[in-house]
Subunit: 231 residues, 2 copies
DNA sequence: ACCTGAACACCGTTCAAGT
DNA sequence: ACCTGAACACCGTTCAAGT
């Protein structure tokens, strides 16, 4: 019962720690992942983790590393627009497999090398497509979290008819416009008829932005921003 | 010393709790706001808060309530595009005053009435502008967190030349494209010459989206999405 | 009706010690 | 070099009690 188990499990190392952390988050949710819970999973005392990871922040960075590694490499010979779209949709697929990754990515304050590599390659796609440095800068900001394949779904986040289903009559009275837009689902043949398709909404907005970028690029857009004061 | 202080401070109520919570978050940061710390601020024992707020989640909801209340009401007689832009920029101003509000807003899972009111009025602006129910739906999703005046700043979040300043030479070698786009700041007269202006980037992307919405609306856009399977 | 006090089951992380 | 054990200073929240 209390025999030594040390020989039955491999030595701990950073790789085993970060892999186990990702698997644990997939399994029990990120909010339940603690240093203590993870150490338990690895059959080790909590403090043993601190030899391989400086603290919890670094553990989260290490988890991001794993996730970013799962994103497809850039498409070899594609025009900028396709290359960007494919990369972003691949990132989106990864985040769908690891639903917790979104909020962890958001919470990182210092970018790690893998994160910078990903962004660097995406900047390269725009520059390679002939975008000016100036426009590329703004375009990267405009993408925001969308370059990682996610956005804040703050409007009808539960996925379509849920808001309507939970409170049918009050919705109609207090929030008629929302009810109209959310509730059209049940009685017409438009998009909303099929409920709210996250992928469709994501691609809709992504295309809108990419088309906008293309239009500005082709028009030879340059920023007309001036310094606030004449002096 | 240990005399009764009960009479010197007003009775606790929900309003005093939520106001104090907002002030405390402004002052010490959201991560330091705990039920215990807040109760201390109010000169009361931790459990006293639970008479006015069911739990910490509800406290955060109450804080969001205060924040949303600070957003300007809709402009009276403005076209949809101006109305939407003004409302969003007002929300942005509020979030700049309460930097913690962004992440709290993101973390809410169930929308409270004030949040639904805000979204309802914004949906109304598009419908009032003649947008179809269908297009309005997609447009609201495309706005995402931008309708609350914020986005995930994941690209050069520190505000321009910081990334370059902290590691000048390694950046140039490992991440040449990022360095180019971030570093152009110091030696030309374009936008990036003035460092990275959050407000400019926000309005750039907002305008791109609003212009895109307008174009689709004027073209009488309808969704061409079909159900995945023929049957 | 509102506030208190003690307790429970957790956290991340330190330090000094073991092998 | 790597792992352990005990301890510290926190959490949110319960329960039963006070006024």
């Amino acid at each position: 019962m209390t025999e030594k188990l040390a020989s039955t499990r491999p030595r701990l190392n950073r790789d085993r720690v970060q892999t186990a952390a990702v698997a644990l988050a997939d399994h029990i949710g990120i909010e339940a992942v603690s240093m203590r819970r993870l150490s338990e999973e690895l059959g080790v005392v909590p403090m043993a983790l601190y030899k391989h990871v400086a603290n919890k922040e670094e553990l989260l960075d290490a988890m991001v590393e794993v996730i970013v590694g799962e994103i497809d490499p850039p498409a070899a010979d594609a025009a900028w627009k396709d290359a960007v779209r494919l990369r972003i949709l691949s990132a989106r697929d990864v985040l769908l497999r690891h639903p917790w990754a979104r909020q962890v990515l958001e919470s990182r304050k210092h970018q790690t090398p893998v994160v910078l590599d990903y962004m660097n390659s995406m900047v390269g796609m725009f520059l390679g497509g002939g975008f000016s440095v100036d426009l590329t800068h703004h375009v990267m900001h405009a993408l925001g979290s969308r370059m990682w394949g996610f956005t804040q779904e703050l409007f009808l986040p539960s996925g379509g008819s849920a808001a309507e289903a939970t409170m049918p009559r009050e919705m109609n009275e207090r929030y008629p416009h929302i009810a109209l837009v959310a509730g059209a689902a049940s009685h017409d043949d438009s998009v909303v008829a099929h409920g709210c398709d996250d992928r469709f909404e994501f691609e809709f907005a992504l295309s809108l932005l990419l088309d906008g970028f293309e239009r500005l690029h082709e028009a030879g857009w340059v920023s007309s921003r001036r310094t606030p004061s004449p002096r």
